[in-house]
Amino acid sequence: MSASPVDKTASAGQDSAPAAPPARRIPALLPAIVIWLLLLSVPFWLPLLGGYTELGTRVLIFGLVAMGLNLLLGFTGGLSFGHAAYFGLGAYGTGLMLKFVTHSTPLAILVGVIVGGLAATVFGPLTVRRRGIYFAMITIAIGQMFYFVSVRWNSLTGGEDGLTGFSRTDVDLGGWILHLQHPMVFYYFTLFFFAIGCAVVWSVLHSPLGHTFIAIRENQKRLRFLGLPIGVYIWIAFAISGFIAALAGSLYALLNNFASPEDLNWVLSGVFVIICVLGGMRTFWGPLMGAVIYVVAQDYLSSITVNWMSFIGAIFILAVLFFPWGLLGFFQGRFQK
C-alpha cells in the first residue's frame, strides 16, 4: 500500500488548531433555536395546517422515545428491537398507579419511569454480551416476555383489551392548577418532559460518557485495548434509553387515557427503530424529524386507507434507498459540502 505523505507542517502553519472550530458554533445552534421555537408554538400553527394539538403531543412522545433509543442505536451502535417493552411498562406503570393507587399524575409518571427504567437496567446486562443480530434477537425476546405477561394477566392489565379506567388528573403547582385534560395544557406538559429528555441526551452526548458510547460504535477492539469494559457502557446506554422510553410511554398512557398490549409489542419497537432510521441515526434531532414523518404520515394515511402500513413501508424503503443516513443526515451532508 503506498500512502502519500501529508505535509503536516504546512497545514499546521495556516491553522494553529483552535480548541474547537469557532466558526461552526453559531450555525450549530441555529437549527436548535428554530426547532424549539417551532415546538413552543405548535398549538398555534398546527391547527392552521389541518392538524390538531394531540397530533403534536404524539409527535413529541414518539420523538422522545426515539431520541432515547437513538442514544443506544445511533450513538452506541446497539440495535434494540425491544424498547417498546420499556415504553409499555412506563405506560402500564402510570396507568395502574392512576387506576388503583393515586390520583397524582406526577407520582404516576414517576412510578412509570422507574418501573420501565429499572426493567431496562435489570435486563440490559443480558443483552450486552451479544453483538449485532444476536443483540437484536435478545432484545426482542426480553421485550416479548413483557408483552405476553400484559396479554395474559387479565385481572390486572385488562388483557388484550388493554388497560382502561384511568385518566390524567389536574396538577396543582402550589395554587396554580394545570388542567391536563385540556389538550393544549397537556401538550406543554409533554413538551416539558420532552425538554428534560433532550437535555439528558444532549449533555450525555457532550460528555466523556457520550464520547465513550460513540467510540464503542466506532471501534470496540481499540477501546478494549485502552482498558475499558465495553459491556458496562452499553449497559448504561441501554438503561438511559430505557428510562427515557419509559417516560415517553408514561406520557403516552396519559395522552390516550389508555394502555394497550400493543404499546409493549415488538412491532412498536420496530416503529421506534424506523423513526430513528428515517430521521437520521447519527444526528441529535434526526429521531424527532423521523417522528414527525411517521406520526403525521400514519395519521393522514390511516384516515384514507386501512392499508396505511404498506405506504409507511414504501416510505421507509425509499428513505433507506435514497437517504441511507436519514433525512436529517442527508441535509446535513448537503449543508456541509
Partner: protein, 249 residues
C-alpha cells in the same frame, strides 16, 4: 529488575506449537525488537503478553506480577499498551476526537455524564500536548479515515501514549509505509524511547529500522527462540544468518 519476563512459555493451538519454551527478560527502559520469518510466532507472542490468551505452559510476569487470569483491560490499567498490525483507530472521528476519547479514558472520566470547566480544560491541555508532541496539531479536525496511512499510524501511537504506558507493544509500526513515513515513525519511536524512557517491544521486518533503534534483538524461528543479543551480535550470528538474514540477503 525486568519489567517483563517470560519463563519457559509455550503456546499450542491444537497440535500446532506456535511458541515453544520461550524465555525473555526485558529490563526497564529497553527498546527490544522481535524479528523472525513469517509464522515464527511473533504476533502470538504479543497476544500472549497482552493477555489475549494464556500460555499453555510457563509464566509471564509484568512489573513483577504474574499476568495469569488478568484481562487485557486490567493489563492496560497496569501500564501495558499495544498497537496492532492493522491500525486500530476511530476512523470516522476526527483526530481531535480520537485523542479526546483516549485522554478521557486515560484520566478515568468515561463514566462522567458531565465535566467541570476545570476538568474540561485539563482534558483539552492534555490533547493539545499530545498533538504537539506527535506533530498532529495541523490535522486536528481532519477525519482519521481520510489521513494517509502513516498519519493514521501516528494517531494510533498518540492514543497509546495518552495512557503513559510503562510498556508499549508495537506490532509492525512501519508496515505499509513509504520511506518518508518510515523515517518519521523511526524518529518517533526513538523520541518516545529517549525522551520518555518508555520500555518498548516491537515486531518489525525492516532491518534498517531495527539496527537503527533497537537496544537488543530477539530472533524467533518456527516458535523457538533462535538468538538474542545486540544488533551487532545478531548480524554476526551464524544461526540467524542461516535461518533468516541469509535467506533475505
Amino acid at each position: 529488575m525486568s519489567l517483563l519476563s517470560l519463563k519457559n512459555v509455550s503456546r499450542r493451538f491444537g497440535s500446532l506449537a506456535a511458541l515453544s519454551n520461550i524465555s525473555l527478560e526485558i529490563p526497564q527502559g529497553e527498546l527490544r525488537a522481535i524479528i523472525g520469518p513469517n509464522g515464527a510466532g511473533k504476533t502470538t507472542l504479543f497476544n500472549l503478553i497482552s493477555g489475549l490468551f494464556p500460555p499453555s505452559e510457563g509464566e509471564v510476569l509484568f512489573d513483577g506480577q504474574s499476568i495469569k487470569g488478568v484481562s487485557p483491560a486490567r493489563l492496560v490499567h497496569r501500564g501495558m499498551i499495544r498497537t496492532f498490525q492493522i491500525t486500530e483507530i476511530f476512523l470516522n472521528l476526527t483526530v481531535y476526537q480520537n485523542l479526546e476519547i483516549a485522554v478521557e479514558t486515560a484520566q478515568g472520566l468515561n463514566l462522567r455524564p458531565w465535566l467541570s470547566p476545570a476538568r474540561r480544560r485539563s482534558v483539552r491541555t492534555a490533547i493539545d500536548e499530545l498533538m504537539e508532541t506527535l506533530h498532529l496539531t495541523g490535522l486536528a479536525y481532519r477525519t482519521a479515515g481520510e489521513l494517509a496511512h502513516g498519519d493514521q499510524r501516528v494517531v494510533e501511537m498518540a492514543i497509546a501514549l495518552s495512557r503513559e504506558p510503562k510498556l508499549l507493544l508495537l506490532d509492525e509500526p512501519t508496515a505499509g509505509m513509504g520511506d518518508e513515513e518510515t523515517d518519521q515513525m523511526t524518529d518517533l519511536i526513538r523520541h518516545m524511547h529517549g525522551e520518555r524512557g518508555i520500555t518498548m517491544l516491537f515486531i518489525e521486518h525492516d532491518m534498517n529500522i531495527i539496527f537503527k533503534v533497537a537496544d537488543r534483538i530477539t530472533v524467533l524461528d518456527n516458535g523457538h527462540l533462535l538468538a538474542e543479543g545486540t544488533p551487532s551480535e545478531i548480524s554476526a550470528n551464524a544461526d540467524v544468518q542461516a535461518a533468516y538474514l541469509g535467506g533475505a540477503k
